[in-house]
């Protein structure tokens, strides 16, 4: 197949724009991991669940299409809270396997409920700004992806503000660094952790809706790939690093789209995973991560 530099730059451009959704999912994983040093495997499934709730509000309740972007994040925020209570709140602090396994259970549960309700078939999702398409010299830019990128930057700014400029952010960071000490200082760590889960859930819901809107369909099959891509973004960005997750999100989006062009859809993901292995060998702490000396 023939392609020139214009095709390559175009595909990188599209990839970066689509990468904003990966950045959002990676950001959610990072928030939860940063708060508890534990992994929430159900996170991307809850995001897709939120997108489904948003879609249901349009198709079943007959609300205007834009309401999906309000109901969806709210629903996945609630799902995030539910996952926290069911899989993390009552677990022994030192046990990392049990909450991980429980959240895998929650991943199955959310996915299977969706499959049961929709009979497993994909549903079409309303597109945002379907007609918008800009030209920049030789290159075209999809308006809806640009919108997604804009929204993600807005949310990243909001999260950074929340973490570093508010009292809640201070409490979250304290609870993540010294859970026992912050409890002794009067910080309600459980409430703080629950808030983090809800916040990450809302982010995930928005990401889920953006993915569904730009792909055009919503399917329970999206949950697992989104989980894996989100985890890869988290690791390449550096565990617990917020700017790392954001930059890695765009990077993975670009890299994936470039190899989609060069090697086709069947082989695309192999190269993304290879990239992860290269990082694990040469930079195991990711782009911006600090050295991890514990599990």
């Amino acid at each position: 197949m023939g392609f020139d530099h214009i095709d390559i730059i175009q595909s990188i451009l599209d990839g970066v724009l689509f990468g904003s959704t990966y950045a959002l999912i990676g950001l959610g994983f990072t928030l939860i991991f940063g708060a508890m040093q534990k992994l929430n495997m159900a996170y991307a499934a809850a995001s897709i669940g939120g997108a489904y709730a948003g879609l249901a509000s349009i198709t079943i309740l007959g609300l205007p299409a834009l309401m999906a972007f309000v109901i969806g994040p709210v629903a996945s925020g609630l799902l995030g809270l539910l996952v926290y209570v069911a899989c993390f709140q009552y677990m022994p602090r030192g046990n990392h396997l049990a909450p991980l396994m429980a959240s895998i259970g929650a991943l199955f549960f959310i996915d299977e409920v969706i499959i049961h309700e929709t009979a497993g078939s994909p549903l079409s999702f309303p597109a945002v700004l379907p007609q918008a398409y800009f030209f920049l010299g030789d290159f075209g830019i999809r308006g809806d992806l640009l919108f997604a990128m804009f929204i993600s930057f807005l949310l990243m700014g909001a999260i950074l503000f929340l973490l570093y400029r508010t009292k809640l952010g201070l409490a979250t960071r304290a609870a993540s660094q010294q859970p026992v000490a912050s409890l002794l200082c009067g910080i309600p760590t459980r409430k703080t952790n629950a808030t983090t889960f809800v916040l990450a859930g809302v982010l995930g819901g928005i990401a889920g809706c953006l993915v569904a809107a730009s792909v055009g369909v919503l399917s329970p099959l999206l949950a697992l790939p989104l989980t894996i891509k989100g985890l890869i973004v988290t690791v390449i960005g550096g565990l617990g690093s917020i700017r790392g997750a954001i930059i890695a999100g765009f990077m993975i989006g670009a890299f994936e789209n470039l190899f989609l062009l060069i090697r086709g859809v069947n082989e695309r993901d192999i190269y993304v995973f290879m990239l992860l292995f290269i990082f694990l060998v040469f930079r195991p702490n990711g782009l911006f991560g600090t050295a991890i000396d514990r599990d």
Binding site: F33, L39, A86, C87, Y90, M91, P92, N95, H96, L97, A98, P99, L100, M101, A102, I104, G105, A106, L107, F108, F109, I110, D111, E112, V113, I115, H116, L224, I228, L231, I232, T234, V235, L239, N266, E267, D269, I270, F273, M274, L276, F277, L280, V281, P284, I292, R294, D295
Partner: protein
Amino acid sequence: MEYYLGVLQTIGIHALLGLSAYLLLLTGQLSLAQVGFFAIGSYVSGMLTVMVGWHIAPALMVGAIMAGFFAFLVGFPALRVKGLMLVVATIAFSEIVRLFFFNLNWRVQVDGLEVGPDSTQGFREIRYFAANGWEQSHVVVLIWSILALVMILLWWLDRVRAGAVLRAVGEDELAAQSSGVNLMMVKVAAMTAGGIIAGIAGGLFAHSSTYVDHHSFSILLATFAISYPILGGLRNVFGTLVAVIFIQGFIIEGLRFIGDYRNILFGLLIIAAMNFRPQGLVDGNFRSDLAKLLGLKPNGGSNDA
């Protein structure tokens, strides 16, 4: 009858897969790469019996060695990292293997028929058992004897120094290292042994199902593999077998009549089990709990076999 034999085969294969993850969990490594080794074992041994015409025994062995070799290779970069990073690295490995076989097209002519892996169409012609007059019950005996052998080996491992070293690394790496344990060697050895067990399980799976494709080796199966030992507990090898019988025998097969609700139930059960028994179903207190439940006095563990 055929149906029950099929269930027994599934339980045996999944128990082997669970035990391969169990061995790694003993050293504190949560690996989702087991399904990758399982896939390598399936394809390699399947290709040997179908395309080269080997007997099942050497084919299984070579499949297991290949899987162990890749486990050895992947062990070095992957075990530099811990916890979450290892989970992600092993997911990536399993997906690379799955996508490799998804793209693998290697058709050859055997006895006038074109056979071999056919990329997206899967690998369809693994009919060694049927072609050589094996009955379903013979296959069950083969699978369960290998399972028994592996269980005895792992049981014995827990009785000798090597097992103590494995558990020491799992309990506290720093303390183990201070006591002169070579962490890298122990972890890579556990990874390799786990890979070999998963490879055998894969070979058995390919031959008992006669057909494999990339759907057979999804991350879903990897999560099943780790869920057995975690649900069953790391106290001994029987926990894993109990968990496999419970999940494959009871939830998947026994509750078939409730339709797809059992998939929903499966997720809920894992959440409930982890909340109420975070150390696994068969944990250290299992004996005394069982004794209490039966109204017997708990016996201070002196008869602990």
